[in-house]
Symmetry: C2
Amino acid sequence: MSQVTAPQDGAAVLDAEEIEQISRAAWYYYNDGLTQNQIADMLGVSRIKVSRLLEKGRQSGLIELRINSPHQGSMALQEELIAAFGLADARVVPAAPVGTAGAARIGRAAASLLMQHLVPNDLLAIGWGDATSTTLRYMAPVFPQSNISLVSLTGGVSAYIGTTGLYGPQGFAHLIPTPLRVSSPELAEMLRLEPYVRHVLDMALTAKLAMIGVGSVARSATLVRYGYCTATEIELFTRRGAVGDILGYFYDRDGQILDLEVHRHVVAVTPQDMRQIPSVVAAAAGPEKVEAILGLLRGRLANILVTDEPTARDLLRRI
Amino acid sequence: MSQVTAPQDGAAVLDAEEIEQISRAAWYYYNDGLTQNQIADMLGVSRIKVSRLLEKGRQSGLIELRINSPHQGSMALQEELIAAFGLADARVVPAAPVGTAGAARIGRAAASLLMQHLVPNDLLAIGWGDATSTTLRYMAPVFPQSNISLVSLTGGVSAYIGTTGLYGPQGFAHLIPTPLRVSSPELAEMLRLEPYVRHVLDMALTAKLAMIGVGSVARSATLVRYGYCTATEIELFTRRGAVGDILGYFYDRDGQILDLEVHRHVVAVTPQDMRQIPSVVAAAAGPEKVEAILGLLRGRLANILVTDEPTARDLLRRI
DNA sequence: ATTTGCATGGAACAAATGATCGGTAGCAGA
DNA sequence: TCTGCTACCGATCATTTGTTCCATGCAAAT
């Protein structure tokens, strides 16, 4: 089983003092319009340092840009998506510049959306995937102080949570301590019945908000890259009608979960159970995901969508 | 009666198309880190135009920079204020750089706070003063699309609402169409009983959120500058124990409303009635306001405070 | 004691940004 | 029609910003 390597740069861990310094610099810079030199004088550090502080603040998600327009997003597309698919909310980010990684952009938008919905002491359920991972990266600096807890919907999440290093001692995160997929149905069943696993699975269903990624059925799918599936298996599922997956479960173009052997190997909340969660945020973008998102929305497997502009247009074109 | 002149630059009025363009540019610039040149190419406009779009977005409050730390503000001072005065919330902005106008900074922070509390179709009650005025400036672009309505707590507000030009035809704003202070108690009483005035006064009390400024008793008080009081009167009130005013009513160091003749000339909701509003946000900063804020907080005339760092320290020093 | 790693500060440079200026197009009124 | 008047637009230029390379200092590890 291939290990999950830290995707890009490790999420910076910020201590309270640094957060204070960044906040201060950010205020002076963005709200007061001072130059970095002036700020450096006021803070008693070098101009370079101010530049680095601001950079770190932006990278870590501590400094967030919010655009205030209809429902705090923009683009008429959002309204169309909401109307067309009966969603509770949607967020559409502008088209990706050129060859930039989509997941990071979507993740940022999703983080912003989640933070607007979350209140202190909330519980956030999280699924599996690139988009989920990057979303957490941007939210990480906020959690500790807001008393927001995490709970995983699937196994295999611990890998990329661990890398943030934020959830060490206090344990704000309740993770299913298993892989996403195990080698036999019997083992999967045993794990699901394991008290702590069961406890986490139950807890996940009490969350008010869930955030999941959407997997496509491509040879380069994240599931394949991480070694949970082989390209051959994906091929097979496709012939059975699969257009995408959530939480490791594959579904067809109408969002119906397929009856596949592999599902019996998965340690995760089922999409059926997940309907108990009032708000399920799906984040995904890219031409290869269009079919998967369509199925997801047709099957009402999620009611909030975060995507980008071209993907939104594609979705609307195919009703 | 001196007219209210447009304080600084008139609030820019943005049409839907421009908002779209600004949103898009802002995303590419702040979230994707593209240069203005690249954005210009993508949008098909000149680089300088992008620069101006971004500038306009920041000025108008459409682009908001949010700093995520404890309860989306920063500074341990906030917690101390909340604890010391039994507040529902507080926001402390860093010390003002040098001789910059405090009201604008506080206004921006207040706008950010209000936008986080408001949901579409809410009603926001507003008082009188510089801070209130600048706060509205930053919120103006957001209102029309969010279906947020305004209602004034006092007379004399229409002057600076009118300047934004935003509330022309649709009438999202319900303003008391009188001056703050009139020349005789009889006239004030007649106006208060006037059906429409009465209607607005009643409506104001149904708001969930109110935003007020805090007046100091200085020769340079805003009330004096705008001609509603003479410096001599202020002098007199001070000798009677006044430390500040809200909505045109003066109170003493314990927040008790004084029994002054001038109060009978005021057309406004009374501080007593305002207690019906669950969240009252007071925004003020500066050494000359410290006594006024202290009285306000002691008398529980507001339960949310927006101020700056030196003021917060002063407040805490004097318990 | 030495080494190693890391955060910081400084200098210098290239890139990006914002401000100023003049030009042009619309537009109201004489 | 002409004359201001305003708003927008683009070019130029000074300032600001980010980056690179190197030196320094501190602290943990050897």
